[in-house]
Structure formats: structure tokens, C-alpha cells
Symmetry: D2
């Protein structure tokens, strides 16, 4: 490496907290799809939390490929190994390091991609940014990175348990098949019984059929996840630039393939009048309550004690097993036909990630605020 | 104050960077609606930027009330006074302090609100969070806080000028009146000529009529702003938790009354297949280009050199001049009829704020990345 | 400004939190010596703190020039104007903006310095760093910047009051006149009665004489401040990179003219054996106590409930009224004879700054830790 | 766990960046002495750096126990396993995860310490802070944590190489044996040949003898390390709260057993006059230079191109193999006689840690500043 090249390399150094999430409860993640493993460090976890390792593994299992016929047939036996921060089954307040070793990686599946930019993938932008990229399985931009989020999210859920805060996400849309009701209209305990994680059994079947059709075509399809958090006390959230919904929106927008976020009545709010959508207060047997909850449980960036709910849009998976026009890294036109094992729809496996990011965000904001009120 | 009360007070202390925005180019803002003034400190502004003070004042004028018949008749003569960081008209690299003094505040307009929680306002949540609130004009949760964003955004725009990055926002929907086309279908230079900041002259008239109707009723209405940034070089944005669109989404969601954010094809992406929405690369006379731009200029959280565009949903203004059910701070049912001078629709004045937050975010990410590529 | 120059300007942009101090209780300061004013924004101050404005002003008066014959004869009538964050005399939890207007600035005193780098000042390094500098009174590197620290420190002291944490600093050395004892050997209430802020009346006179002698010569002299914080509960401080003494050391080293920091037995510790300096525990009538306190109240970066004490070394003021060899900004050899009104020794006025930074650090760490133990 | 206990646990959560170091080049470390391993994640490392794995291992070897007769006879075969962020031997710009597995841990050595607070250790303060502690080998407060610093420091050194910045630390004092000269008076290449890392062969022998004597007694002794960084360009460092020397001081004070930090003439500066210690500029054959360097290469917190040098005081190791008075965790008086394998003086093994922290700090500040000047 010449001195000039080396200095140039140093000049390309990049920013701040790029692989960390959270303020007090903070996850720093690492790992590429086809490297040694993926993992992270959780800093700021309260001490004295009893870790339910079976629960953590179950949460990991919810995101893993190969759970059902609608997900990719890749089998990833993802088992988390904890490296620190735990003594006699309890958190000690020191950083929790963990790793999930990569197994069953077929790196040779990606040999044909080394010199090609896949459309709507991050190949091109990583290459432009860093001047170097790990082409195997998308490298750092792979959805395998979400493993670290699942582990940290599971621990966050355990820390939230005594607060009786529950977080439930589900698939509310795949393609043009859409749930008509709100989260109140469904029995959310049915979500985990559905292979597409949709609590409406009829729509679930339709969605499953659509995903299988896409799979047969080598095509993919988008969708929407809805999430509700119940039991969040009032007073969480920070004006002005750390509003609770801004933190949740940021959290969701960091998940691969997410294209939009709305909370409460969201984009629908544009259509209505103040007189129609203001959430009026009333004295509800001695407690202050609101008649409606278009606000989605947050006013002025601070929780008001009502349910917090929001929706997250996901695009179709970029890898399709069909011929596509693209260019080589040298800029020449070419035709790409991807092979490998991929999801036809990200929604079923995205649902636990949405929950994990919500749990981390709410715990972080609980720790930021004093939880005494 | 008893010791116990005082300690309790200390325990309610709140979090991190709550009134700061940005990583390197960082705005810290302060000020309440009916206090002495609102202002901020801009840290991390590059040295040697020639400040065009007329331009900064014009940007401030774009957000000020009383610009036209569709905005509130409150006249706010908002003039910025710079306190530091400038020498002989240029930035010195040291922090730029500034203040806009509050004038023409009718604090007595708010006397009737002292003991009442206004529906869908932040009165209740601030009170729950802090145990104390400044009831005059919404205090810190007032939209007057956006003045600081305008000033910092204007300086960010000046710093971005040599990069030929342009940022244009406009009103694309008010109530059910909606632009059918994308940003490419309009002459965006018409935006500033429209009192509702809509570049489609016909729709602009309809929107204006709708807003005036709401005003007559003492009611309010929501809407959507669209924003496009052209000329952003490829390579901006940071994996994993600092994706460029996550930063933009976070920025937008910190603006008062915002309920949703989507970029590229956004929520619409849920409906489509990978084969329909992948942005195929091609060799465009020696340059790598994409056939379409459903990605909204960002792939894997990093800009790809295409236009960056997104949409931001705003709810109707919460203050309506009609009778509303609510409760007193003591929890008693009551009827509130607000008076005062308020906007019937936030969109016209929100457009410059959307631009300001975009400018700050893009400049910050330019400074984070090395701008040499 | 050409495009290239402008881009270069942007490339020189500088970093992170450079003008902010603290994590939760966070001061962001601004202002130059000869600009409009100096001030700051305090974010994260607990709500409900009753502000004793007289006390805050007194703290400001302790740092101001012209207090006695040993300080500079410049009269600065420094009065703080609060801009936000206070309602009916109490903090509201929103950011506290404030400014102290510059008056009595003799900018023409500095005309002869415009083209010269003063030895051991920051003129040269600021110029190298930013490519531009405000030569009037040292600009941002002026000790006038410490005004913001005093204001924030005074508020921090008020927030600490209910905890019965007291912070006292004093001058323990000027030149070769040195207190022989530790903080326990003096009546620290005498500190404020001494013009050099030394609690030993005999040494105080000697120090005063030495400073006056320096003043007569147009020369300056260094010294040491000692600080003790009593009543700090055990459990404050964070492993590994946020150790309490590291935070205190960092805080002190940000003060102008500071050259060294040591806590507990400090550099002296190098000379001794574990058997001589370990702080043995014993049961002190039912409470765990230590026989000695060489640790300075901190073990492993966490407070242990004993007194926290440390020493801070200050160099002599760089501005001397004697001829000195130096260079012009063009690099030519020249002789500089400064005029103007300057301190001959920074110690008397540094003592309140040491206290202010200590108060801010301890409050920040109290807010970081849960204050329930 | 009862709900109340669990909530209390959550309330004890602790702060911000406690296990992370740096702004752009950021190390997050994890691991306890007797856990599975210690390691970390390096975020913000420039892409394209060719990693010299032998060099990294050598740096690790410099800190490992059992190097010579003056260090602890514990043999730790510390080998670093990289988990991510590297492709074909080069950094990719993505986070570098790594782990050093713990081997040869004699956890049973610590059984007798489970219910006892060791004097001048962090046992008591960790217990007070977290309500739980891992008693094996000091847990997180063990010096084994410095392994992560060594790995990150070695990578920082590799990134600094093209800048011709060199960093050399050495032992300048152990007990009362002290080097009389400055760093300029010694051939620093001799440092690594000395078992105590002292470049003065005569003093080295004396120090070695003293350490061996302590070892024989089961006692320990303190000392001082001096560090010099050559080749640092002017313009690094940030006013006001991110001064370069404040960052270096903070870095050093986070190292276990450090009691003090001084740069340039340090505490000695207190004794002298401005006329004696100002660093006069002169034209040195066309280049601006200074006659002296009492400033230690930093003025106003910004590097001036001269050598940066500083001194770091270390206390004696707290674990002594002699009977000591102490208390049990229940607060009862007891006598402790530690066994196990410990260093009699931390200096020899501290020298590489001082260098590592310096390298990380300088690289971070290079990345913060634009390295173009």
C-alpha cells in the first residue's frame, strides 16, 4: 500500500454510532452473512435481570429461515453463545457480549455475484462508499445482521416483563391482501400459529397462497407489519429531537427492506379535520382517559398511557430467481439470474424483528426517563 | 422545597440529546413560545462559509405566520440575532449562537388554558412527564420551536451550495385534495407562488379554498408534504443503524404534527413484486444508472446518486375554535373553546421546515462521510 | 468563493460535541471574547429545581475580573440573562438558554495582535485548524468562555443541594508557595476571604505578594488548585471508559491553562507500596469504612462514599507585558510586547471554575446512575 | 423475582458509552477475567487498511503476563480471533468483532474472595453499584479487560502508519527510582529490551531489583509511564470540551490503577513564570517553529506540530500477598491473605496499554478533523 493510497483509505473513514442502537440500553452489532459469525455487545442492560435462555432461543427461532414452507429452505441452526455480562444466570450490569456462529453458509452460491451489482441490493452503494465489499451473501447488508437485534430484543423483553408492557407485531398486508380491521379486531395470540404471522385465519391462508405463488415464479412480494405496545406508562419520550415516535420510526427504518413508517392514524391523518381526529379527554371513573386514540398513544413525542401502535411497510425482497438486466462492477451491461435460497416475502420473518426493535426502544426510553411515576 | 421533594425532582431528570439534532453539524435549540425568545447553538459548522444573511432571513420569513390569508393572522416579526461564531461575515468553525426574540406574544390568550388539558396537544404528557408545565402557547411544544430549525437549515443550505445539492419540498395533499403525479410532473419553481405551497396551480386553488373553509368553521385539516433532494452524491449513509433514510425519517418525525414518513415507493411498495419494482442498472453512456428509482435514491441505507424523495404526513392542527370535551388538570370533565390565532392547516408553513431538516441531515452526512469521492 | 474553495471549507468541518459537556446534564456553550456575548444551553436539567438567581449571580461574580488587586483591572459587569426553561422561578425540564452580554470590550487593544501569533496562546493552532480566526481577545479560546461553565455549575450546585453534596476548591500553590497540609488541615470557609482564594492566611499573604510582584514585572505565574467533594454517595461512576475520576480529569483538562490532574494520592502513589497505600476496610460502628483514603473516594472508577479530592495544575498566563520573540502570521520573526489588562495568575479566578466543572460532573453522574441507593 | 425487585433492578440501569471509547474510531469492549473470553467491536475503522496480523499478535504479547521474571507467572496464551469486518486481509469499513478466549483461568483461586471486599479493589464499589458482582478475578474490573484495548490500539497503529506518526511509551519511574532526563535523553529503542520497559539500562536494573524485592515480600509498588507521540500534524484537537490533551488525559485515566496525568511541563508548570515557560515562535528556515516545547505539543487543545508528550502515574497493585485488615460482604471485620499469581508492579505491562490508548485517541482525532491540511 503506498502512502498516498493508505492516507486515502484513512480519509474514507466513516462516522458515528453506525453499528450501535440505543442510548442507555445500547446494542453494538457486528458480523457478515458469510463471515465467522454475527453477534454484538449489549451495554447498559440493568443488573439483576434473570435471563430465560429458552425464551431468548425461541425468539431467535422465530426469525430463522426454514421455519415453514413460506420461508427460505436455508436451514440456519442459530444458537447464541453468551461471552460475558452474566453471572449465575443473571445480568451483572457489565456488557453482554454474544455471538451466533455462521454454519451452513454456501458461499459458493455467491461466486457468480462477485463482479455484478444486484438490482435494488446494496452491492453498488457499499462498493461506492467503501471501495471494497464482501460479496458473499450481501456481507454486512445481509438480513443475517438482524440476529443481533433478536438477541438484544429478547433480553429487552425480559427486562420489560415486570412492567407488564407487552409488544405484539403481526403481518397486516402482503401484496394486495390486507387486513381491514385494527389491531383491536384480532386475536393476536393466533399470530404465531400462522405461517405468515397473520392473526386473521382466512387472510392468512390467502397470504400463504400468494407467497407460494411468488415462490413458484421465483418472484417476491412486499407487505406491511403492524405493531402494538400495551401497558406503556405515560411520560416516556423526550422533546424535541428525541420524540418517542421519532425513535420508533428510526428503529423501524433501520430494518432491511423497510420503506415507510406511520403511527396512530398515520398517512390517513392527512384526510381528516381536527374536529374529527382530536382525542378528547374524559374522566373515566376517576382516571383521565381519551375517547379515541388516533394519536397512537403519543402526544408531543411523549407517551400518554394509551396503546402505542404503528405500521411498517416492507418492499419485496430484491433477490428474484428471474433474469434481470444489470451491470458488472466494471459497468458493462449484463443479465443476472440469481440462484440460492431466498425468501419470497420478508414479512413472516420481519415480525419478530419489528418486536425486537420496539422492545429495545421502549426499554431504552424507560431507562432514560425515571420509571418512578 | 423539602429534601425529599427536591430529590424526587432530581430523579425526574431526563435524557440524552433531547434538544440536539445531528452528529457533526449539530443544532441544540431552546426556547418556549411565550418566553423571552427561541434560539439555538449550531456546533460543527464548517469554517469559511460566507453567510448570506438575507437568504437566512428569507428562509425564516417562509415559516412565519401571517404570510397570507391561509396562515394564522398572528404577525411574528422574526428576526435572527447571531451571537457568535462569525467573523467578518464568515463562519469561523466555532459554535454559532443565535436568538430570535419573542414579540407580539399574547400570553393572556392562554390564561383560560392554565388548568385544562387541550385534546391532542402535549399539555397532558408534558405535565405527566415533568410535573410542571409552561401553559403559555404550548411552551416548549409550540411550533415556534421550529424557528431554530429554519435558521440552522438555512446555514446548512448555504454550506451545501457548492455541492449543487438542491432540496425542494411542496404540499402534495391537503385533506382529500391530492396531487396525482410525482415530483417530476410539476414545475417546482411554482411552489413559492402558491399560498399553500402547492406547485399545481389548479390544485393549489382547491386546497386554498378548503383551508379557508376550515378557517371559517374554526376547524383544521391535515395534509402531506413531498420533498426531493437532487444532486446528492453516491456513498452517503451509514450501515446499519444510521441508514440515510432512517436519519431522514427520524428528522421528519421530530417535526410537530408529523404522523408518517415514507421514501421512494413507500407504503405502495407493499403491493408490488420484486420483478416489478427492482431498479435495474444499465450502462448509461459510460455511467452506471438505474432504469427506475423506486428505491428513492437510497439502497441499503446509502445514497446511490439518484434523486432522493420522500413523503411526510401531517395531522390536522389540534387547536380548533370549536367546543370540545376535555378535562381539567384536576381531572374534572369540562368543555373547552379555544380562542387565539391559529393555523387551519400546517402544510404551507411546514414545507420550509421539511426542507430545513433535510438540509441539516444531508450536510451532517456529508461531513460524516469523507466528501472526496 | 469558488466551488473548490467552498468544498475545501466544508471538508474542514470539525467534530463531535466539541462545545458540549456532559451526558444527561449537558452544557453547550458559545461565544467569543469580543463578540456580542457568551452563553449556552443547558439540556437535561431536572424539572422543579427552584433557581436562586442571587446565588447564580454570586457564582458569576466569583470568576469575574476586577474583584481584587490581584486580578486584572478589567471590569466585566457580567450579568446572566436567562432565555428559556424556567417558569415561575423553577426549571421546567426544557433547555435553559442563557447569555451574558459582552460589555467593556476594548477590541482595539488587540489590533496589534491581528497579524502576530502570541507565544503559548492558541492563535497559531486555531489558524492552522480553521484557516480563519477571530483575533480579538483570543476569540473562542479566551477564558471568557468559562462564564458559561459558571452559570451551568451554579445550577448544578443548586440541583445537588438536597443531596448534601458540597464542593470546595481552593488555591493550594502559587509558584513555589505551597500548602503543606491536605484539605483536612484547613478551614475551607476562609477561602473566599482570601484574595488569592487560599484558606491558609499566612500563605495567602505570601501568595498575594508574589502575584503582585509578577504584576509589577508584567510577568505571570502558575499554580495548583485542590478540590474536595464531600457527601458523594457510593456507586457513582461507570466502568470501563466512563470511570468517575476519568470524567473529573477530563472536566478539569478542558479548563484553559490546565496542565495536569491527579486524584487521591496521585503522582505520589508511584513512590509507595501496596502495603502502605491500600485503604483497608473496617467495621465502623456497623458501617463499612476505610482506615485511609489514598484512593480519593473512588475505586475502580466508582465512588465509595469517602471524600473525593483531586489537584489541578495551571500554567502561568501566556500573556505577559514584556517583549517576546515571536512570528507574524506570514512567518516573519518579530518582537511582541502585549498590552491590555490581564491576570498575573489564573488561580484565584480558576477556583470557581474548578468547582463548577466538578458540580456539573457529579450531577451528571448522579443522573446517569439511579439515585435510589 | 418479584415485580418490585425486578423493577428495582431495572431502575439500577446504568449509563452511556460506559464500555465504549472514541468518537469515530470506536471500541466497545466486553468480557470478564474468568468468563468465556474478552473482546470487543471496533466501529468506524477506515476501509482498506491491510491488517498485519503478526504485528497485532505481537502487541498482544507485549501486555501478556509471564513475559519475564518481573511479571506475574500466570501464562495467558492470548490469541485474538477476528469475527468480522475483514475481507481478504483488509478492513472493509464494517465493524470488526473480535474475541480472545480465556484459558488457564484458575477460578478456584478466588473462592476465598467471594465473601470479602479486597482493600483498594473495586469489589465493594461494584457490589454497591450493581447489587451483584462476579468475584472471580475481579470480573469486569480486572486488568484482563485491557486486552481489547491492545487489539484496537494495534489496529489504530496500523492505520496511523502512513502518517508517520509514532507513539512510544516507557517506564520512567518505579518507586523512588526515577529517570532524570526527558524522553529526548534516551534511546527509546532500548525500551523493549528492558524487562521493566525502561530505556535507561542502569535504572532498568535498579527497577528490576526493586520489583523483585517487592515480589519476594508479597508486596507491590507504583510508578510512572512517559509517552511521546511524534509526527502529529498541527490542527488536531477540538475546542472547548474536546481538547486533545483532555481526550488523552481521559484515555489514560480509564486505564486501571492510573492516579494522575500531566502533559508538557505538567505540575511543574505551577512553579514557573510566563517569561520562563512561554514557547516562543521563530522562523526556522521558512517553517514556523517554537524555541521550547513546554506546551507538550498542544496549545488551546489543538496540536501545534511539536512532539506531544505526557506522564501517567500508576499506583501499586492492590493485591498483595500479605495479611490485610478488611471486611466481609456482610460487614464483619476479617483478615485477608490473598493468594494467586499477581504482578508486583503494573508498569512493565502498562506501557503497551498507554501506547494503545494514545494510538486510538490520535487516530480518532485524525478522523474527526479533516486530515487534508
Amino acid at each position: 500500500m503506498t502512502t498516498t493510497a493508505a492516507k486515502a483509505a484513512v480519509m474514507d473513514a466513516e462516522a458515528i454510532n453506525v453499528n450501535s442502537f440505543g442510548n442507555i440500553f445500547k446494542l453494538t452489532s457486528f458480523g457478515e452473512s458469510h463471515g465467522v459469525g454475527v453477534g454484538g455487545v449489549i451495554d447498559g442492560c440493568p443488573s439483576g435481570i434473570e435471563l430465560d435462555f429458552d425464551f431468548i432461543q425461541e425468539e431467535l427461532n422465530r426469525r430463522k429461515p426454514g421455519q415453514s414452507n413460506v420461508t427460505t429452505p436455508r436451514k440456519e441452526e442459530d444458537e447464541v453463545q453468551f461471552l460475558s455480562g452474566i453471572y449465575e444466570g443473571k445480568t451483572t450490569g457489565t456488557p453482554i457480549g454474544f455471538v451466533v456462529w455462521n454454519k451452513n453458509q454456501h458461499s459458493s452460491d455467491y461466486d457468480h455475484l462477485k463482479d455484478v451489482y444486484r438490482p435494488s441490493h446494496a452491492d453498488y452503494t457499499y462498493h461506492k462508499k467503501y471501495g471494497i465489499r464482501d460479496p458473499r451473501g450481501g456481507g454486512r447488508s445481509s438480513a443475517r445482521e438482524t440476529i443481533a437485534r433478536c438477541v438484544a430484543g429478547a433480553i429487552a423483553k425480559l427486562a420489560l416483563r415486570p412492567y407488564d408492557i407487552t409488544i405484539q407485531a403481526y403481518t397486516s398486508q402482503i401484496g394486495d391482501i390486507k387486513l381491514d380491521g385494527t389491531y383491536k379486531d384480532y386475536d393476536l395470540s393466533l399470530t404465531e400459529k400462522s405461517p405468515v404471522r397473520c392473526p386473521d385465519p382466512v387472510k392468512s391462508l390467502e397470504m400463504e397462497k400468494l407467497v407460494m405463488e411468488m415462490k413458484g415464479l421465483g418472484d417476491t412480494i412486499g407487505g406491511v407489519a403492524t405493531c402494538v405496545a400495551k401497558g406503556v406508562p405515560s411520560g416516556l419520550g423526550e422533546p424535541v429531537f428525541a420524540k418517542l415516535h421519532a425513535a420508533l420510526g428510526h428503529a423501524m427504518l433501520t430494518i432491511n427492506a423497510v420503506k415507510g413508517f406511520e403511527y396512530g392514524d398515520g398517512f390517513d391523518a392527512a384526510l381528516f379535520r381536527g374536529s374529527e381526529r382530536n382525542d378528547r379527554f374524559f374522566n373515566d371513573n376517576g382516571k383521565i382517559n381519551t375517547r379515541t386514540n388516533y394519536s397512537g398513544g403519543i402526544q408531543g413525542g411523549i407517551s400518554n398511557g394509551q396503546d402505542i401502535y404503528f405500521r411498517v411497510a416492507f418492499k419485496s425482497v430484491a433477490t428474484i430467481l428471474m433474469e434481470q438486466e444489470t451491470v458488472t462492477t466494471a459497468g458493462k451491461d449484463t443479465i443476472l439470474k440469481a440462484c440460492g435460497r431466498h425468501d419470497a416475502c420478508v414479512l413472516p420473518r420481519a415480525v419478530p424483528i419489528v418486536e425486537a426493535m420496539t422492545a429495545m426502544t421502549l426499554l431504552d426510553y424507560l431507562l432514560i426517563a425515571s420509571p418512578t411515576r
